[in-house]
Amino acid sequence: MNDSAVAGWRQAVRRGELPSDLVSLLRNVALRMCRRRVLPPSFAPYGQWDDEAGEEIFAAWYADRLVSPGQLLALLDRSSSEAALRALAERSLRQHLLNRADRSQTRNLFGRVVAVLRERPAFVLVHAASRPANTWYGLRPPAGRDDADVPLWSGPERLLVAHGWALGDLAIIRYRASAAKLSPVLDSGELERFITGLMSRTNTALTAAQIMTVLAARLDLGAPQTHDLEAEPIPASASRAPEDAVALADTARAIVDGLTSRQREVLRRADDTVASIAKALRCSVGTIVNERRRIAVAVSRLSEDEDERGVLLNMAADLLYPLDDE
């Protein structure tokens, strides 16, 4: 591999230049990903992966993620060869597409947070404000205890974010794998669990703006959007069409493609005990548990609900079974 070419590109980019052969390599990464269909068609700009879609996602990836925030240099700094750069670039593009779709949901997410706080019986208004974003809600206290007993959060934002991280894995924004068009789904149950957990951990009342700050950090959404919106209805799920089976298969392949070799092996051995997988892969039980969590998060992100998640997980595992026969 041409190690010196990568070193040359690295130095050029650090000087503020953008070598044309480097740009060409990155464009090829995007086009190749489209041809290989490494993400579900729902993530394509027009619902299908072709060269036009490739050019479009390349342009957005290049402008939004690579150049201005300096992520191209970060990729080059971790690449020892062109092959390594291609692999890292592919991962970066995949992350960009997922993240872009997530960020498109921040407006809806704020509306949903406000709706959950207003409508769910688990929560109670503690302190009114002129804007929904600044209205304080707390967990409904046990009978006999006054709502006013709930203190308002007054700690640093950093600590509140830490409590948000402490709630564990989170899949609030999910995607219908079987949809022909991008169809993000905000999981209200998961969102309520998260807000309840946050209030319970801090034992305080919180505002929607504070909750959005924590969600933005957890979901890497950028600056939280807290417009004064009414909760927008989320379109009901369409019934599953015959062509959705193809989309599901594409999604399962995309999931497998995004796993590391160890994660694939863990998934392939899904029916084995954790201890036996750990022994076979020469790593600790904790590592296998962690790998299973990573796989679960990856599958949850691309499935609308638990039923679809189960279907996708089985399809992904099935894709790995032929390895047994080799």
């Binding site: 700094d77 830490a162 564990g168 894995d169 590592t287 969590r293 998060v297």
Partner: protein, 264 residues
């Protein structure tokens, strides 16, 4: 995987230097910042662009250092050999180096995170997903510590071979086959055999390649010390009748030249 020659090395041995290092296999590069150094080893902290994953043990590194925002993963520190450095790309400011030093000392001594440092939110629970990220990062960084770990605790070449073979689960016959001859390994591991008579330079280079080590000054120093310590009584070849050939330095020059060729 290692740099070609000492005189061509960028100086990663200066605390605060930010370098890109290679490992023993082609697993990419790792950006690190040096926090302490001796002649043949450097303590470093890995740098990651995944700033959203910062915990209280990750120091934020300003944008102007690398050209992108990064975190210094103090919890993930390790030791490298200077030869692993491919390129020094930046230097952190004295203020950042001081903060890094404070946080590293706290991590090493089990103390609290010093106040006023630009670090991430603390980890409050074992189910925090950032711990999964840390697990990944530790896995990624480990191969970069291998060259120094492979030589750690070995006072002689024999010890080094024994430890390394054990680390890699390599059987004696497998390693001997790499050299193309047999019957020498047990004596070499016991430091009871003069390497120069047991293995030609090319054969030894193949053995070292199989043990996944590069041409480093620390390996050379250990090997040289062992060669010089080999007494005439112990200096017997596999066949038992070959006289010692050449001095230690010229033999090692040949071995290391060959090793560099094989790794390039």
């Amino acid at each position: 995987m290692m740099s070609e020659a000492n005189d061509a090395l960028p100086d990663i041995r200066v605390p605060g230097a930010v370098g890109l290092i290679g490992g023993v296999v082609d697993g990419g590069l790792l950006a690190v910042v040096a926090i302490a150094a001796s002649d043949d080893a450097v303590s470093v902290v890995p740098l990651s662009p995944s700033v959203e994953q910062a915990t209280e043990w990750d120091l934020e590194v300003p944008l102007d250092v690398l050209g992108y925002r990064a975190i210094a993963e103090v919890w993930n520190y390790g030791t490298i050999l200077p030869e692993q450095c491919r390129e020094v790309v930046a230097t952190v400011t004295p203020g950042t180096l001081h903060a890094l030093d404070q946080l590293s000392r706290a991590a090493l001594t089990g103390g609290p995170v010093p106040a006023q440092l630009a670090v991430g939110p603390p980890v409050l629970d074992d189910c925090d997903p950032r711990l999964l990220f840390q697990d990944n990062e530790a896995d990624f960084a480990h191969p970069f510590w291998e060259p120094a770990l492979a030589l750690a605790g070995a006072a002689t070449f024999g010890e080094f071979i024994r430890h390394r073979r054990d680390d890699l689960h390599l059987g004696p016959s497998e390693l001997e086959a790499t050299a193309g001859s047999s019957g020498w390994l047990a004596d070499v591991e016991a430091d009871a055999l003069d390497l120069r008579q047991a293995l030609a330079p090319k054969a030894l280079a193949r053995v070292l390649r199989r043990l996944q080590v590069g041409a480093t000054s620390r390996l050379r120093a250990i090997t040289r010390t062992t060669l010089e310590g080999a007494s005439p009584q112990l200096a017997r070849g596999v066949s038992g009748d070959r006289p010692p050939t050449g001095d230690a330095d010229s033999y090692l020059d040949e071995v290391f030249d060959e090793l560099r060729k094989e790794w390039s």
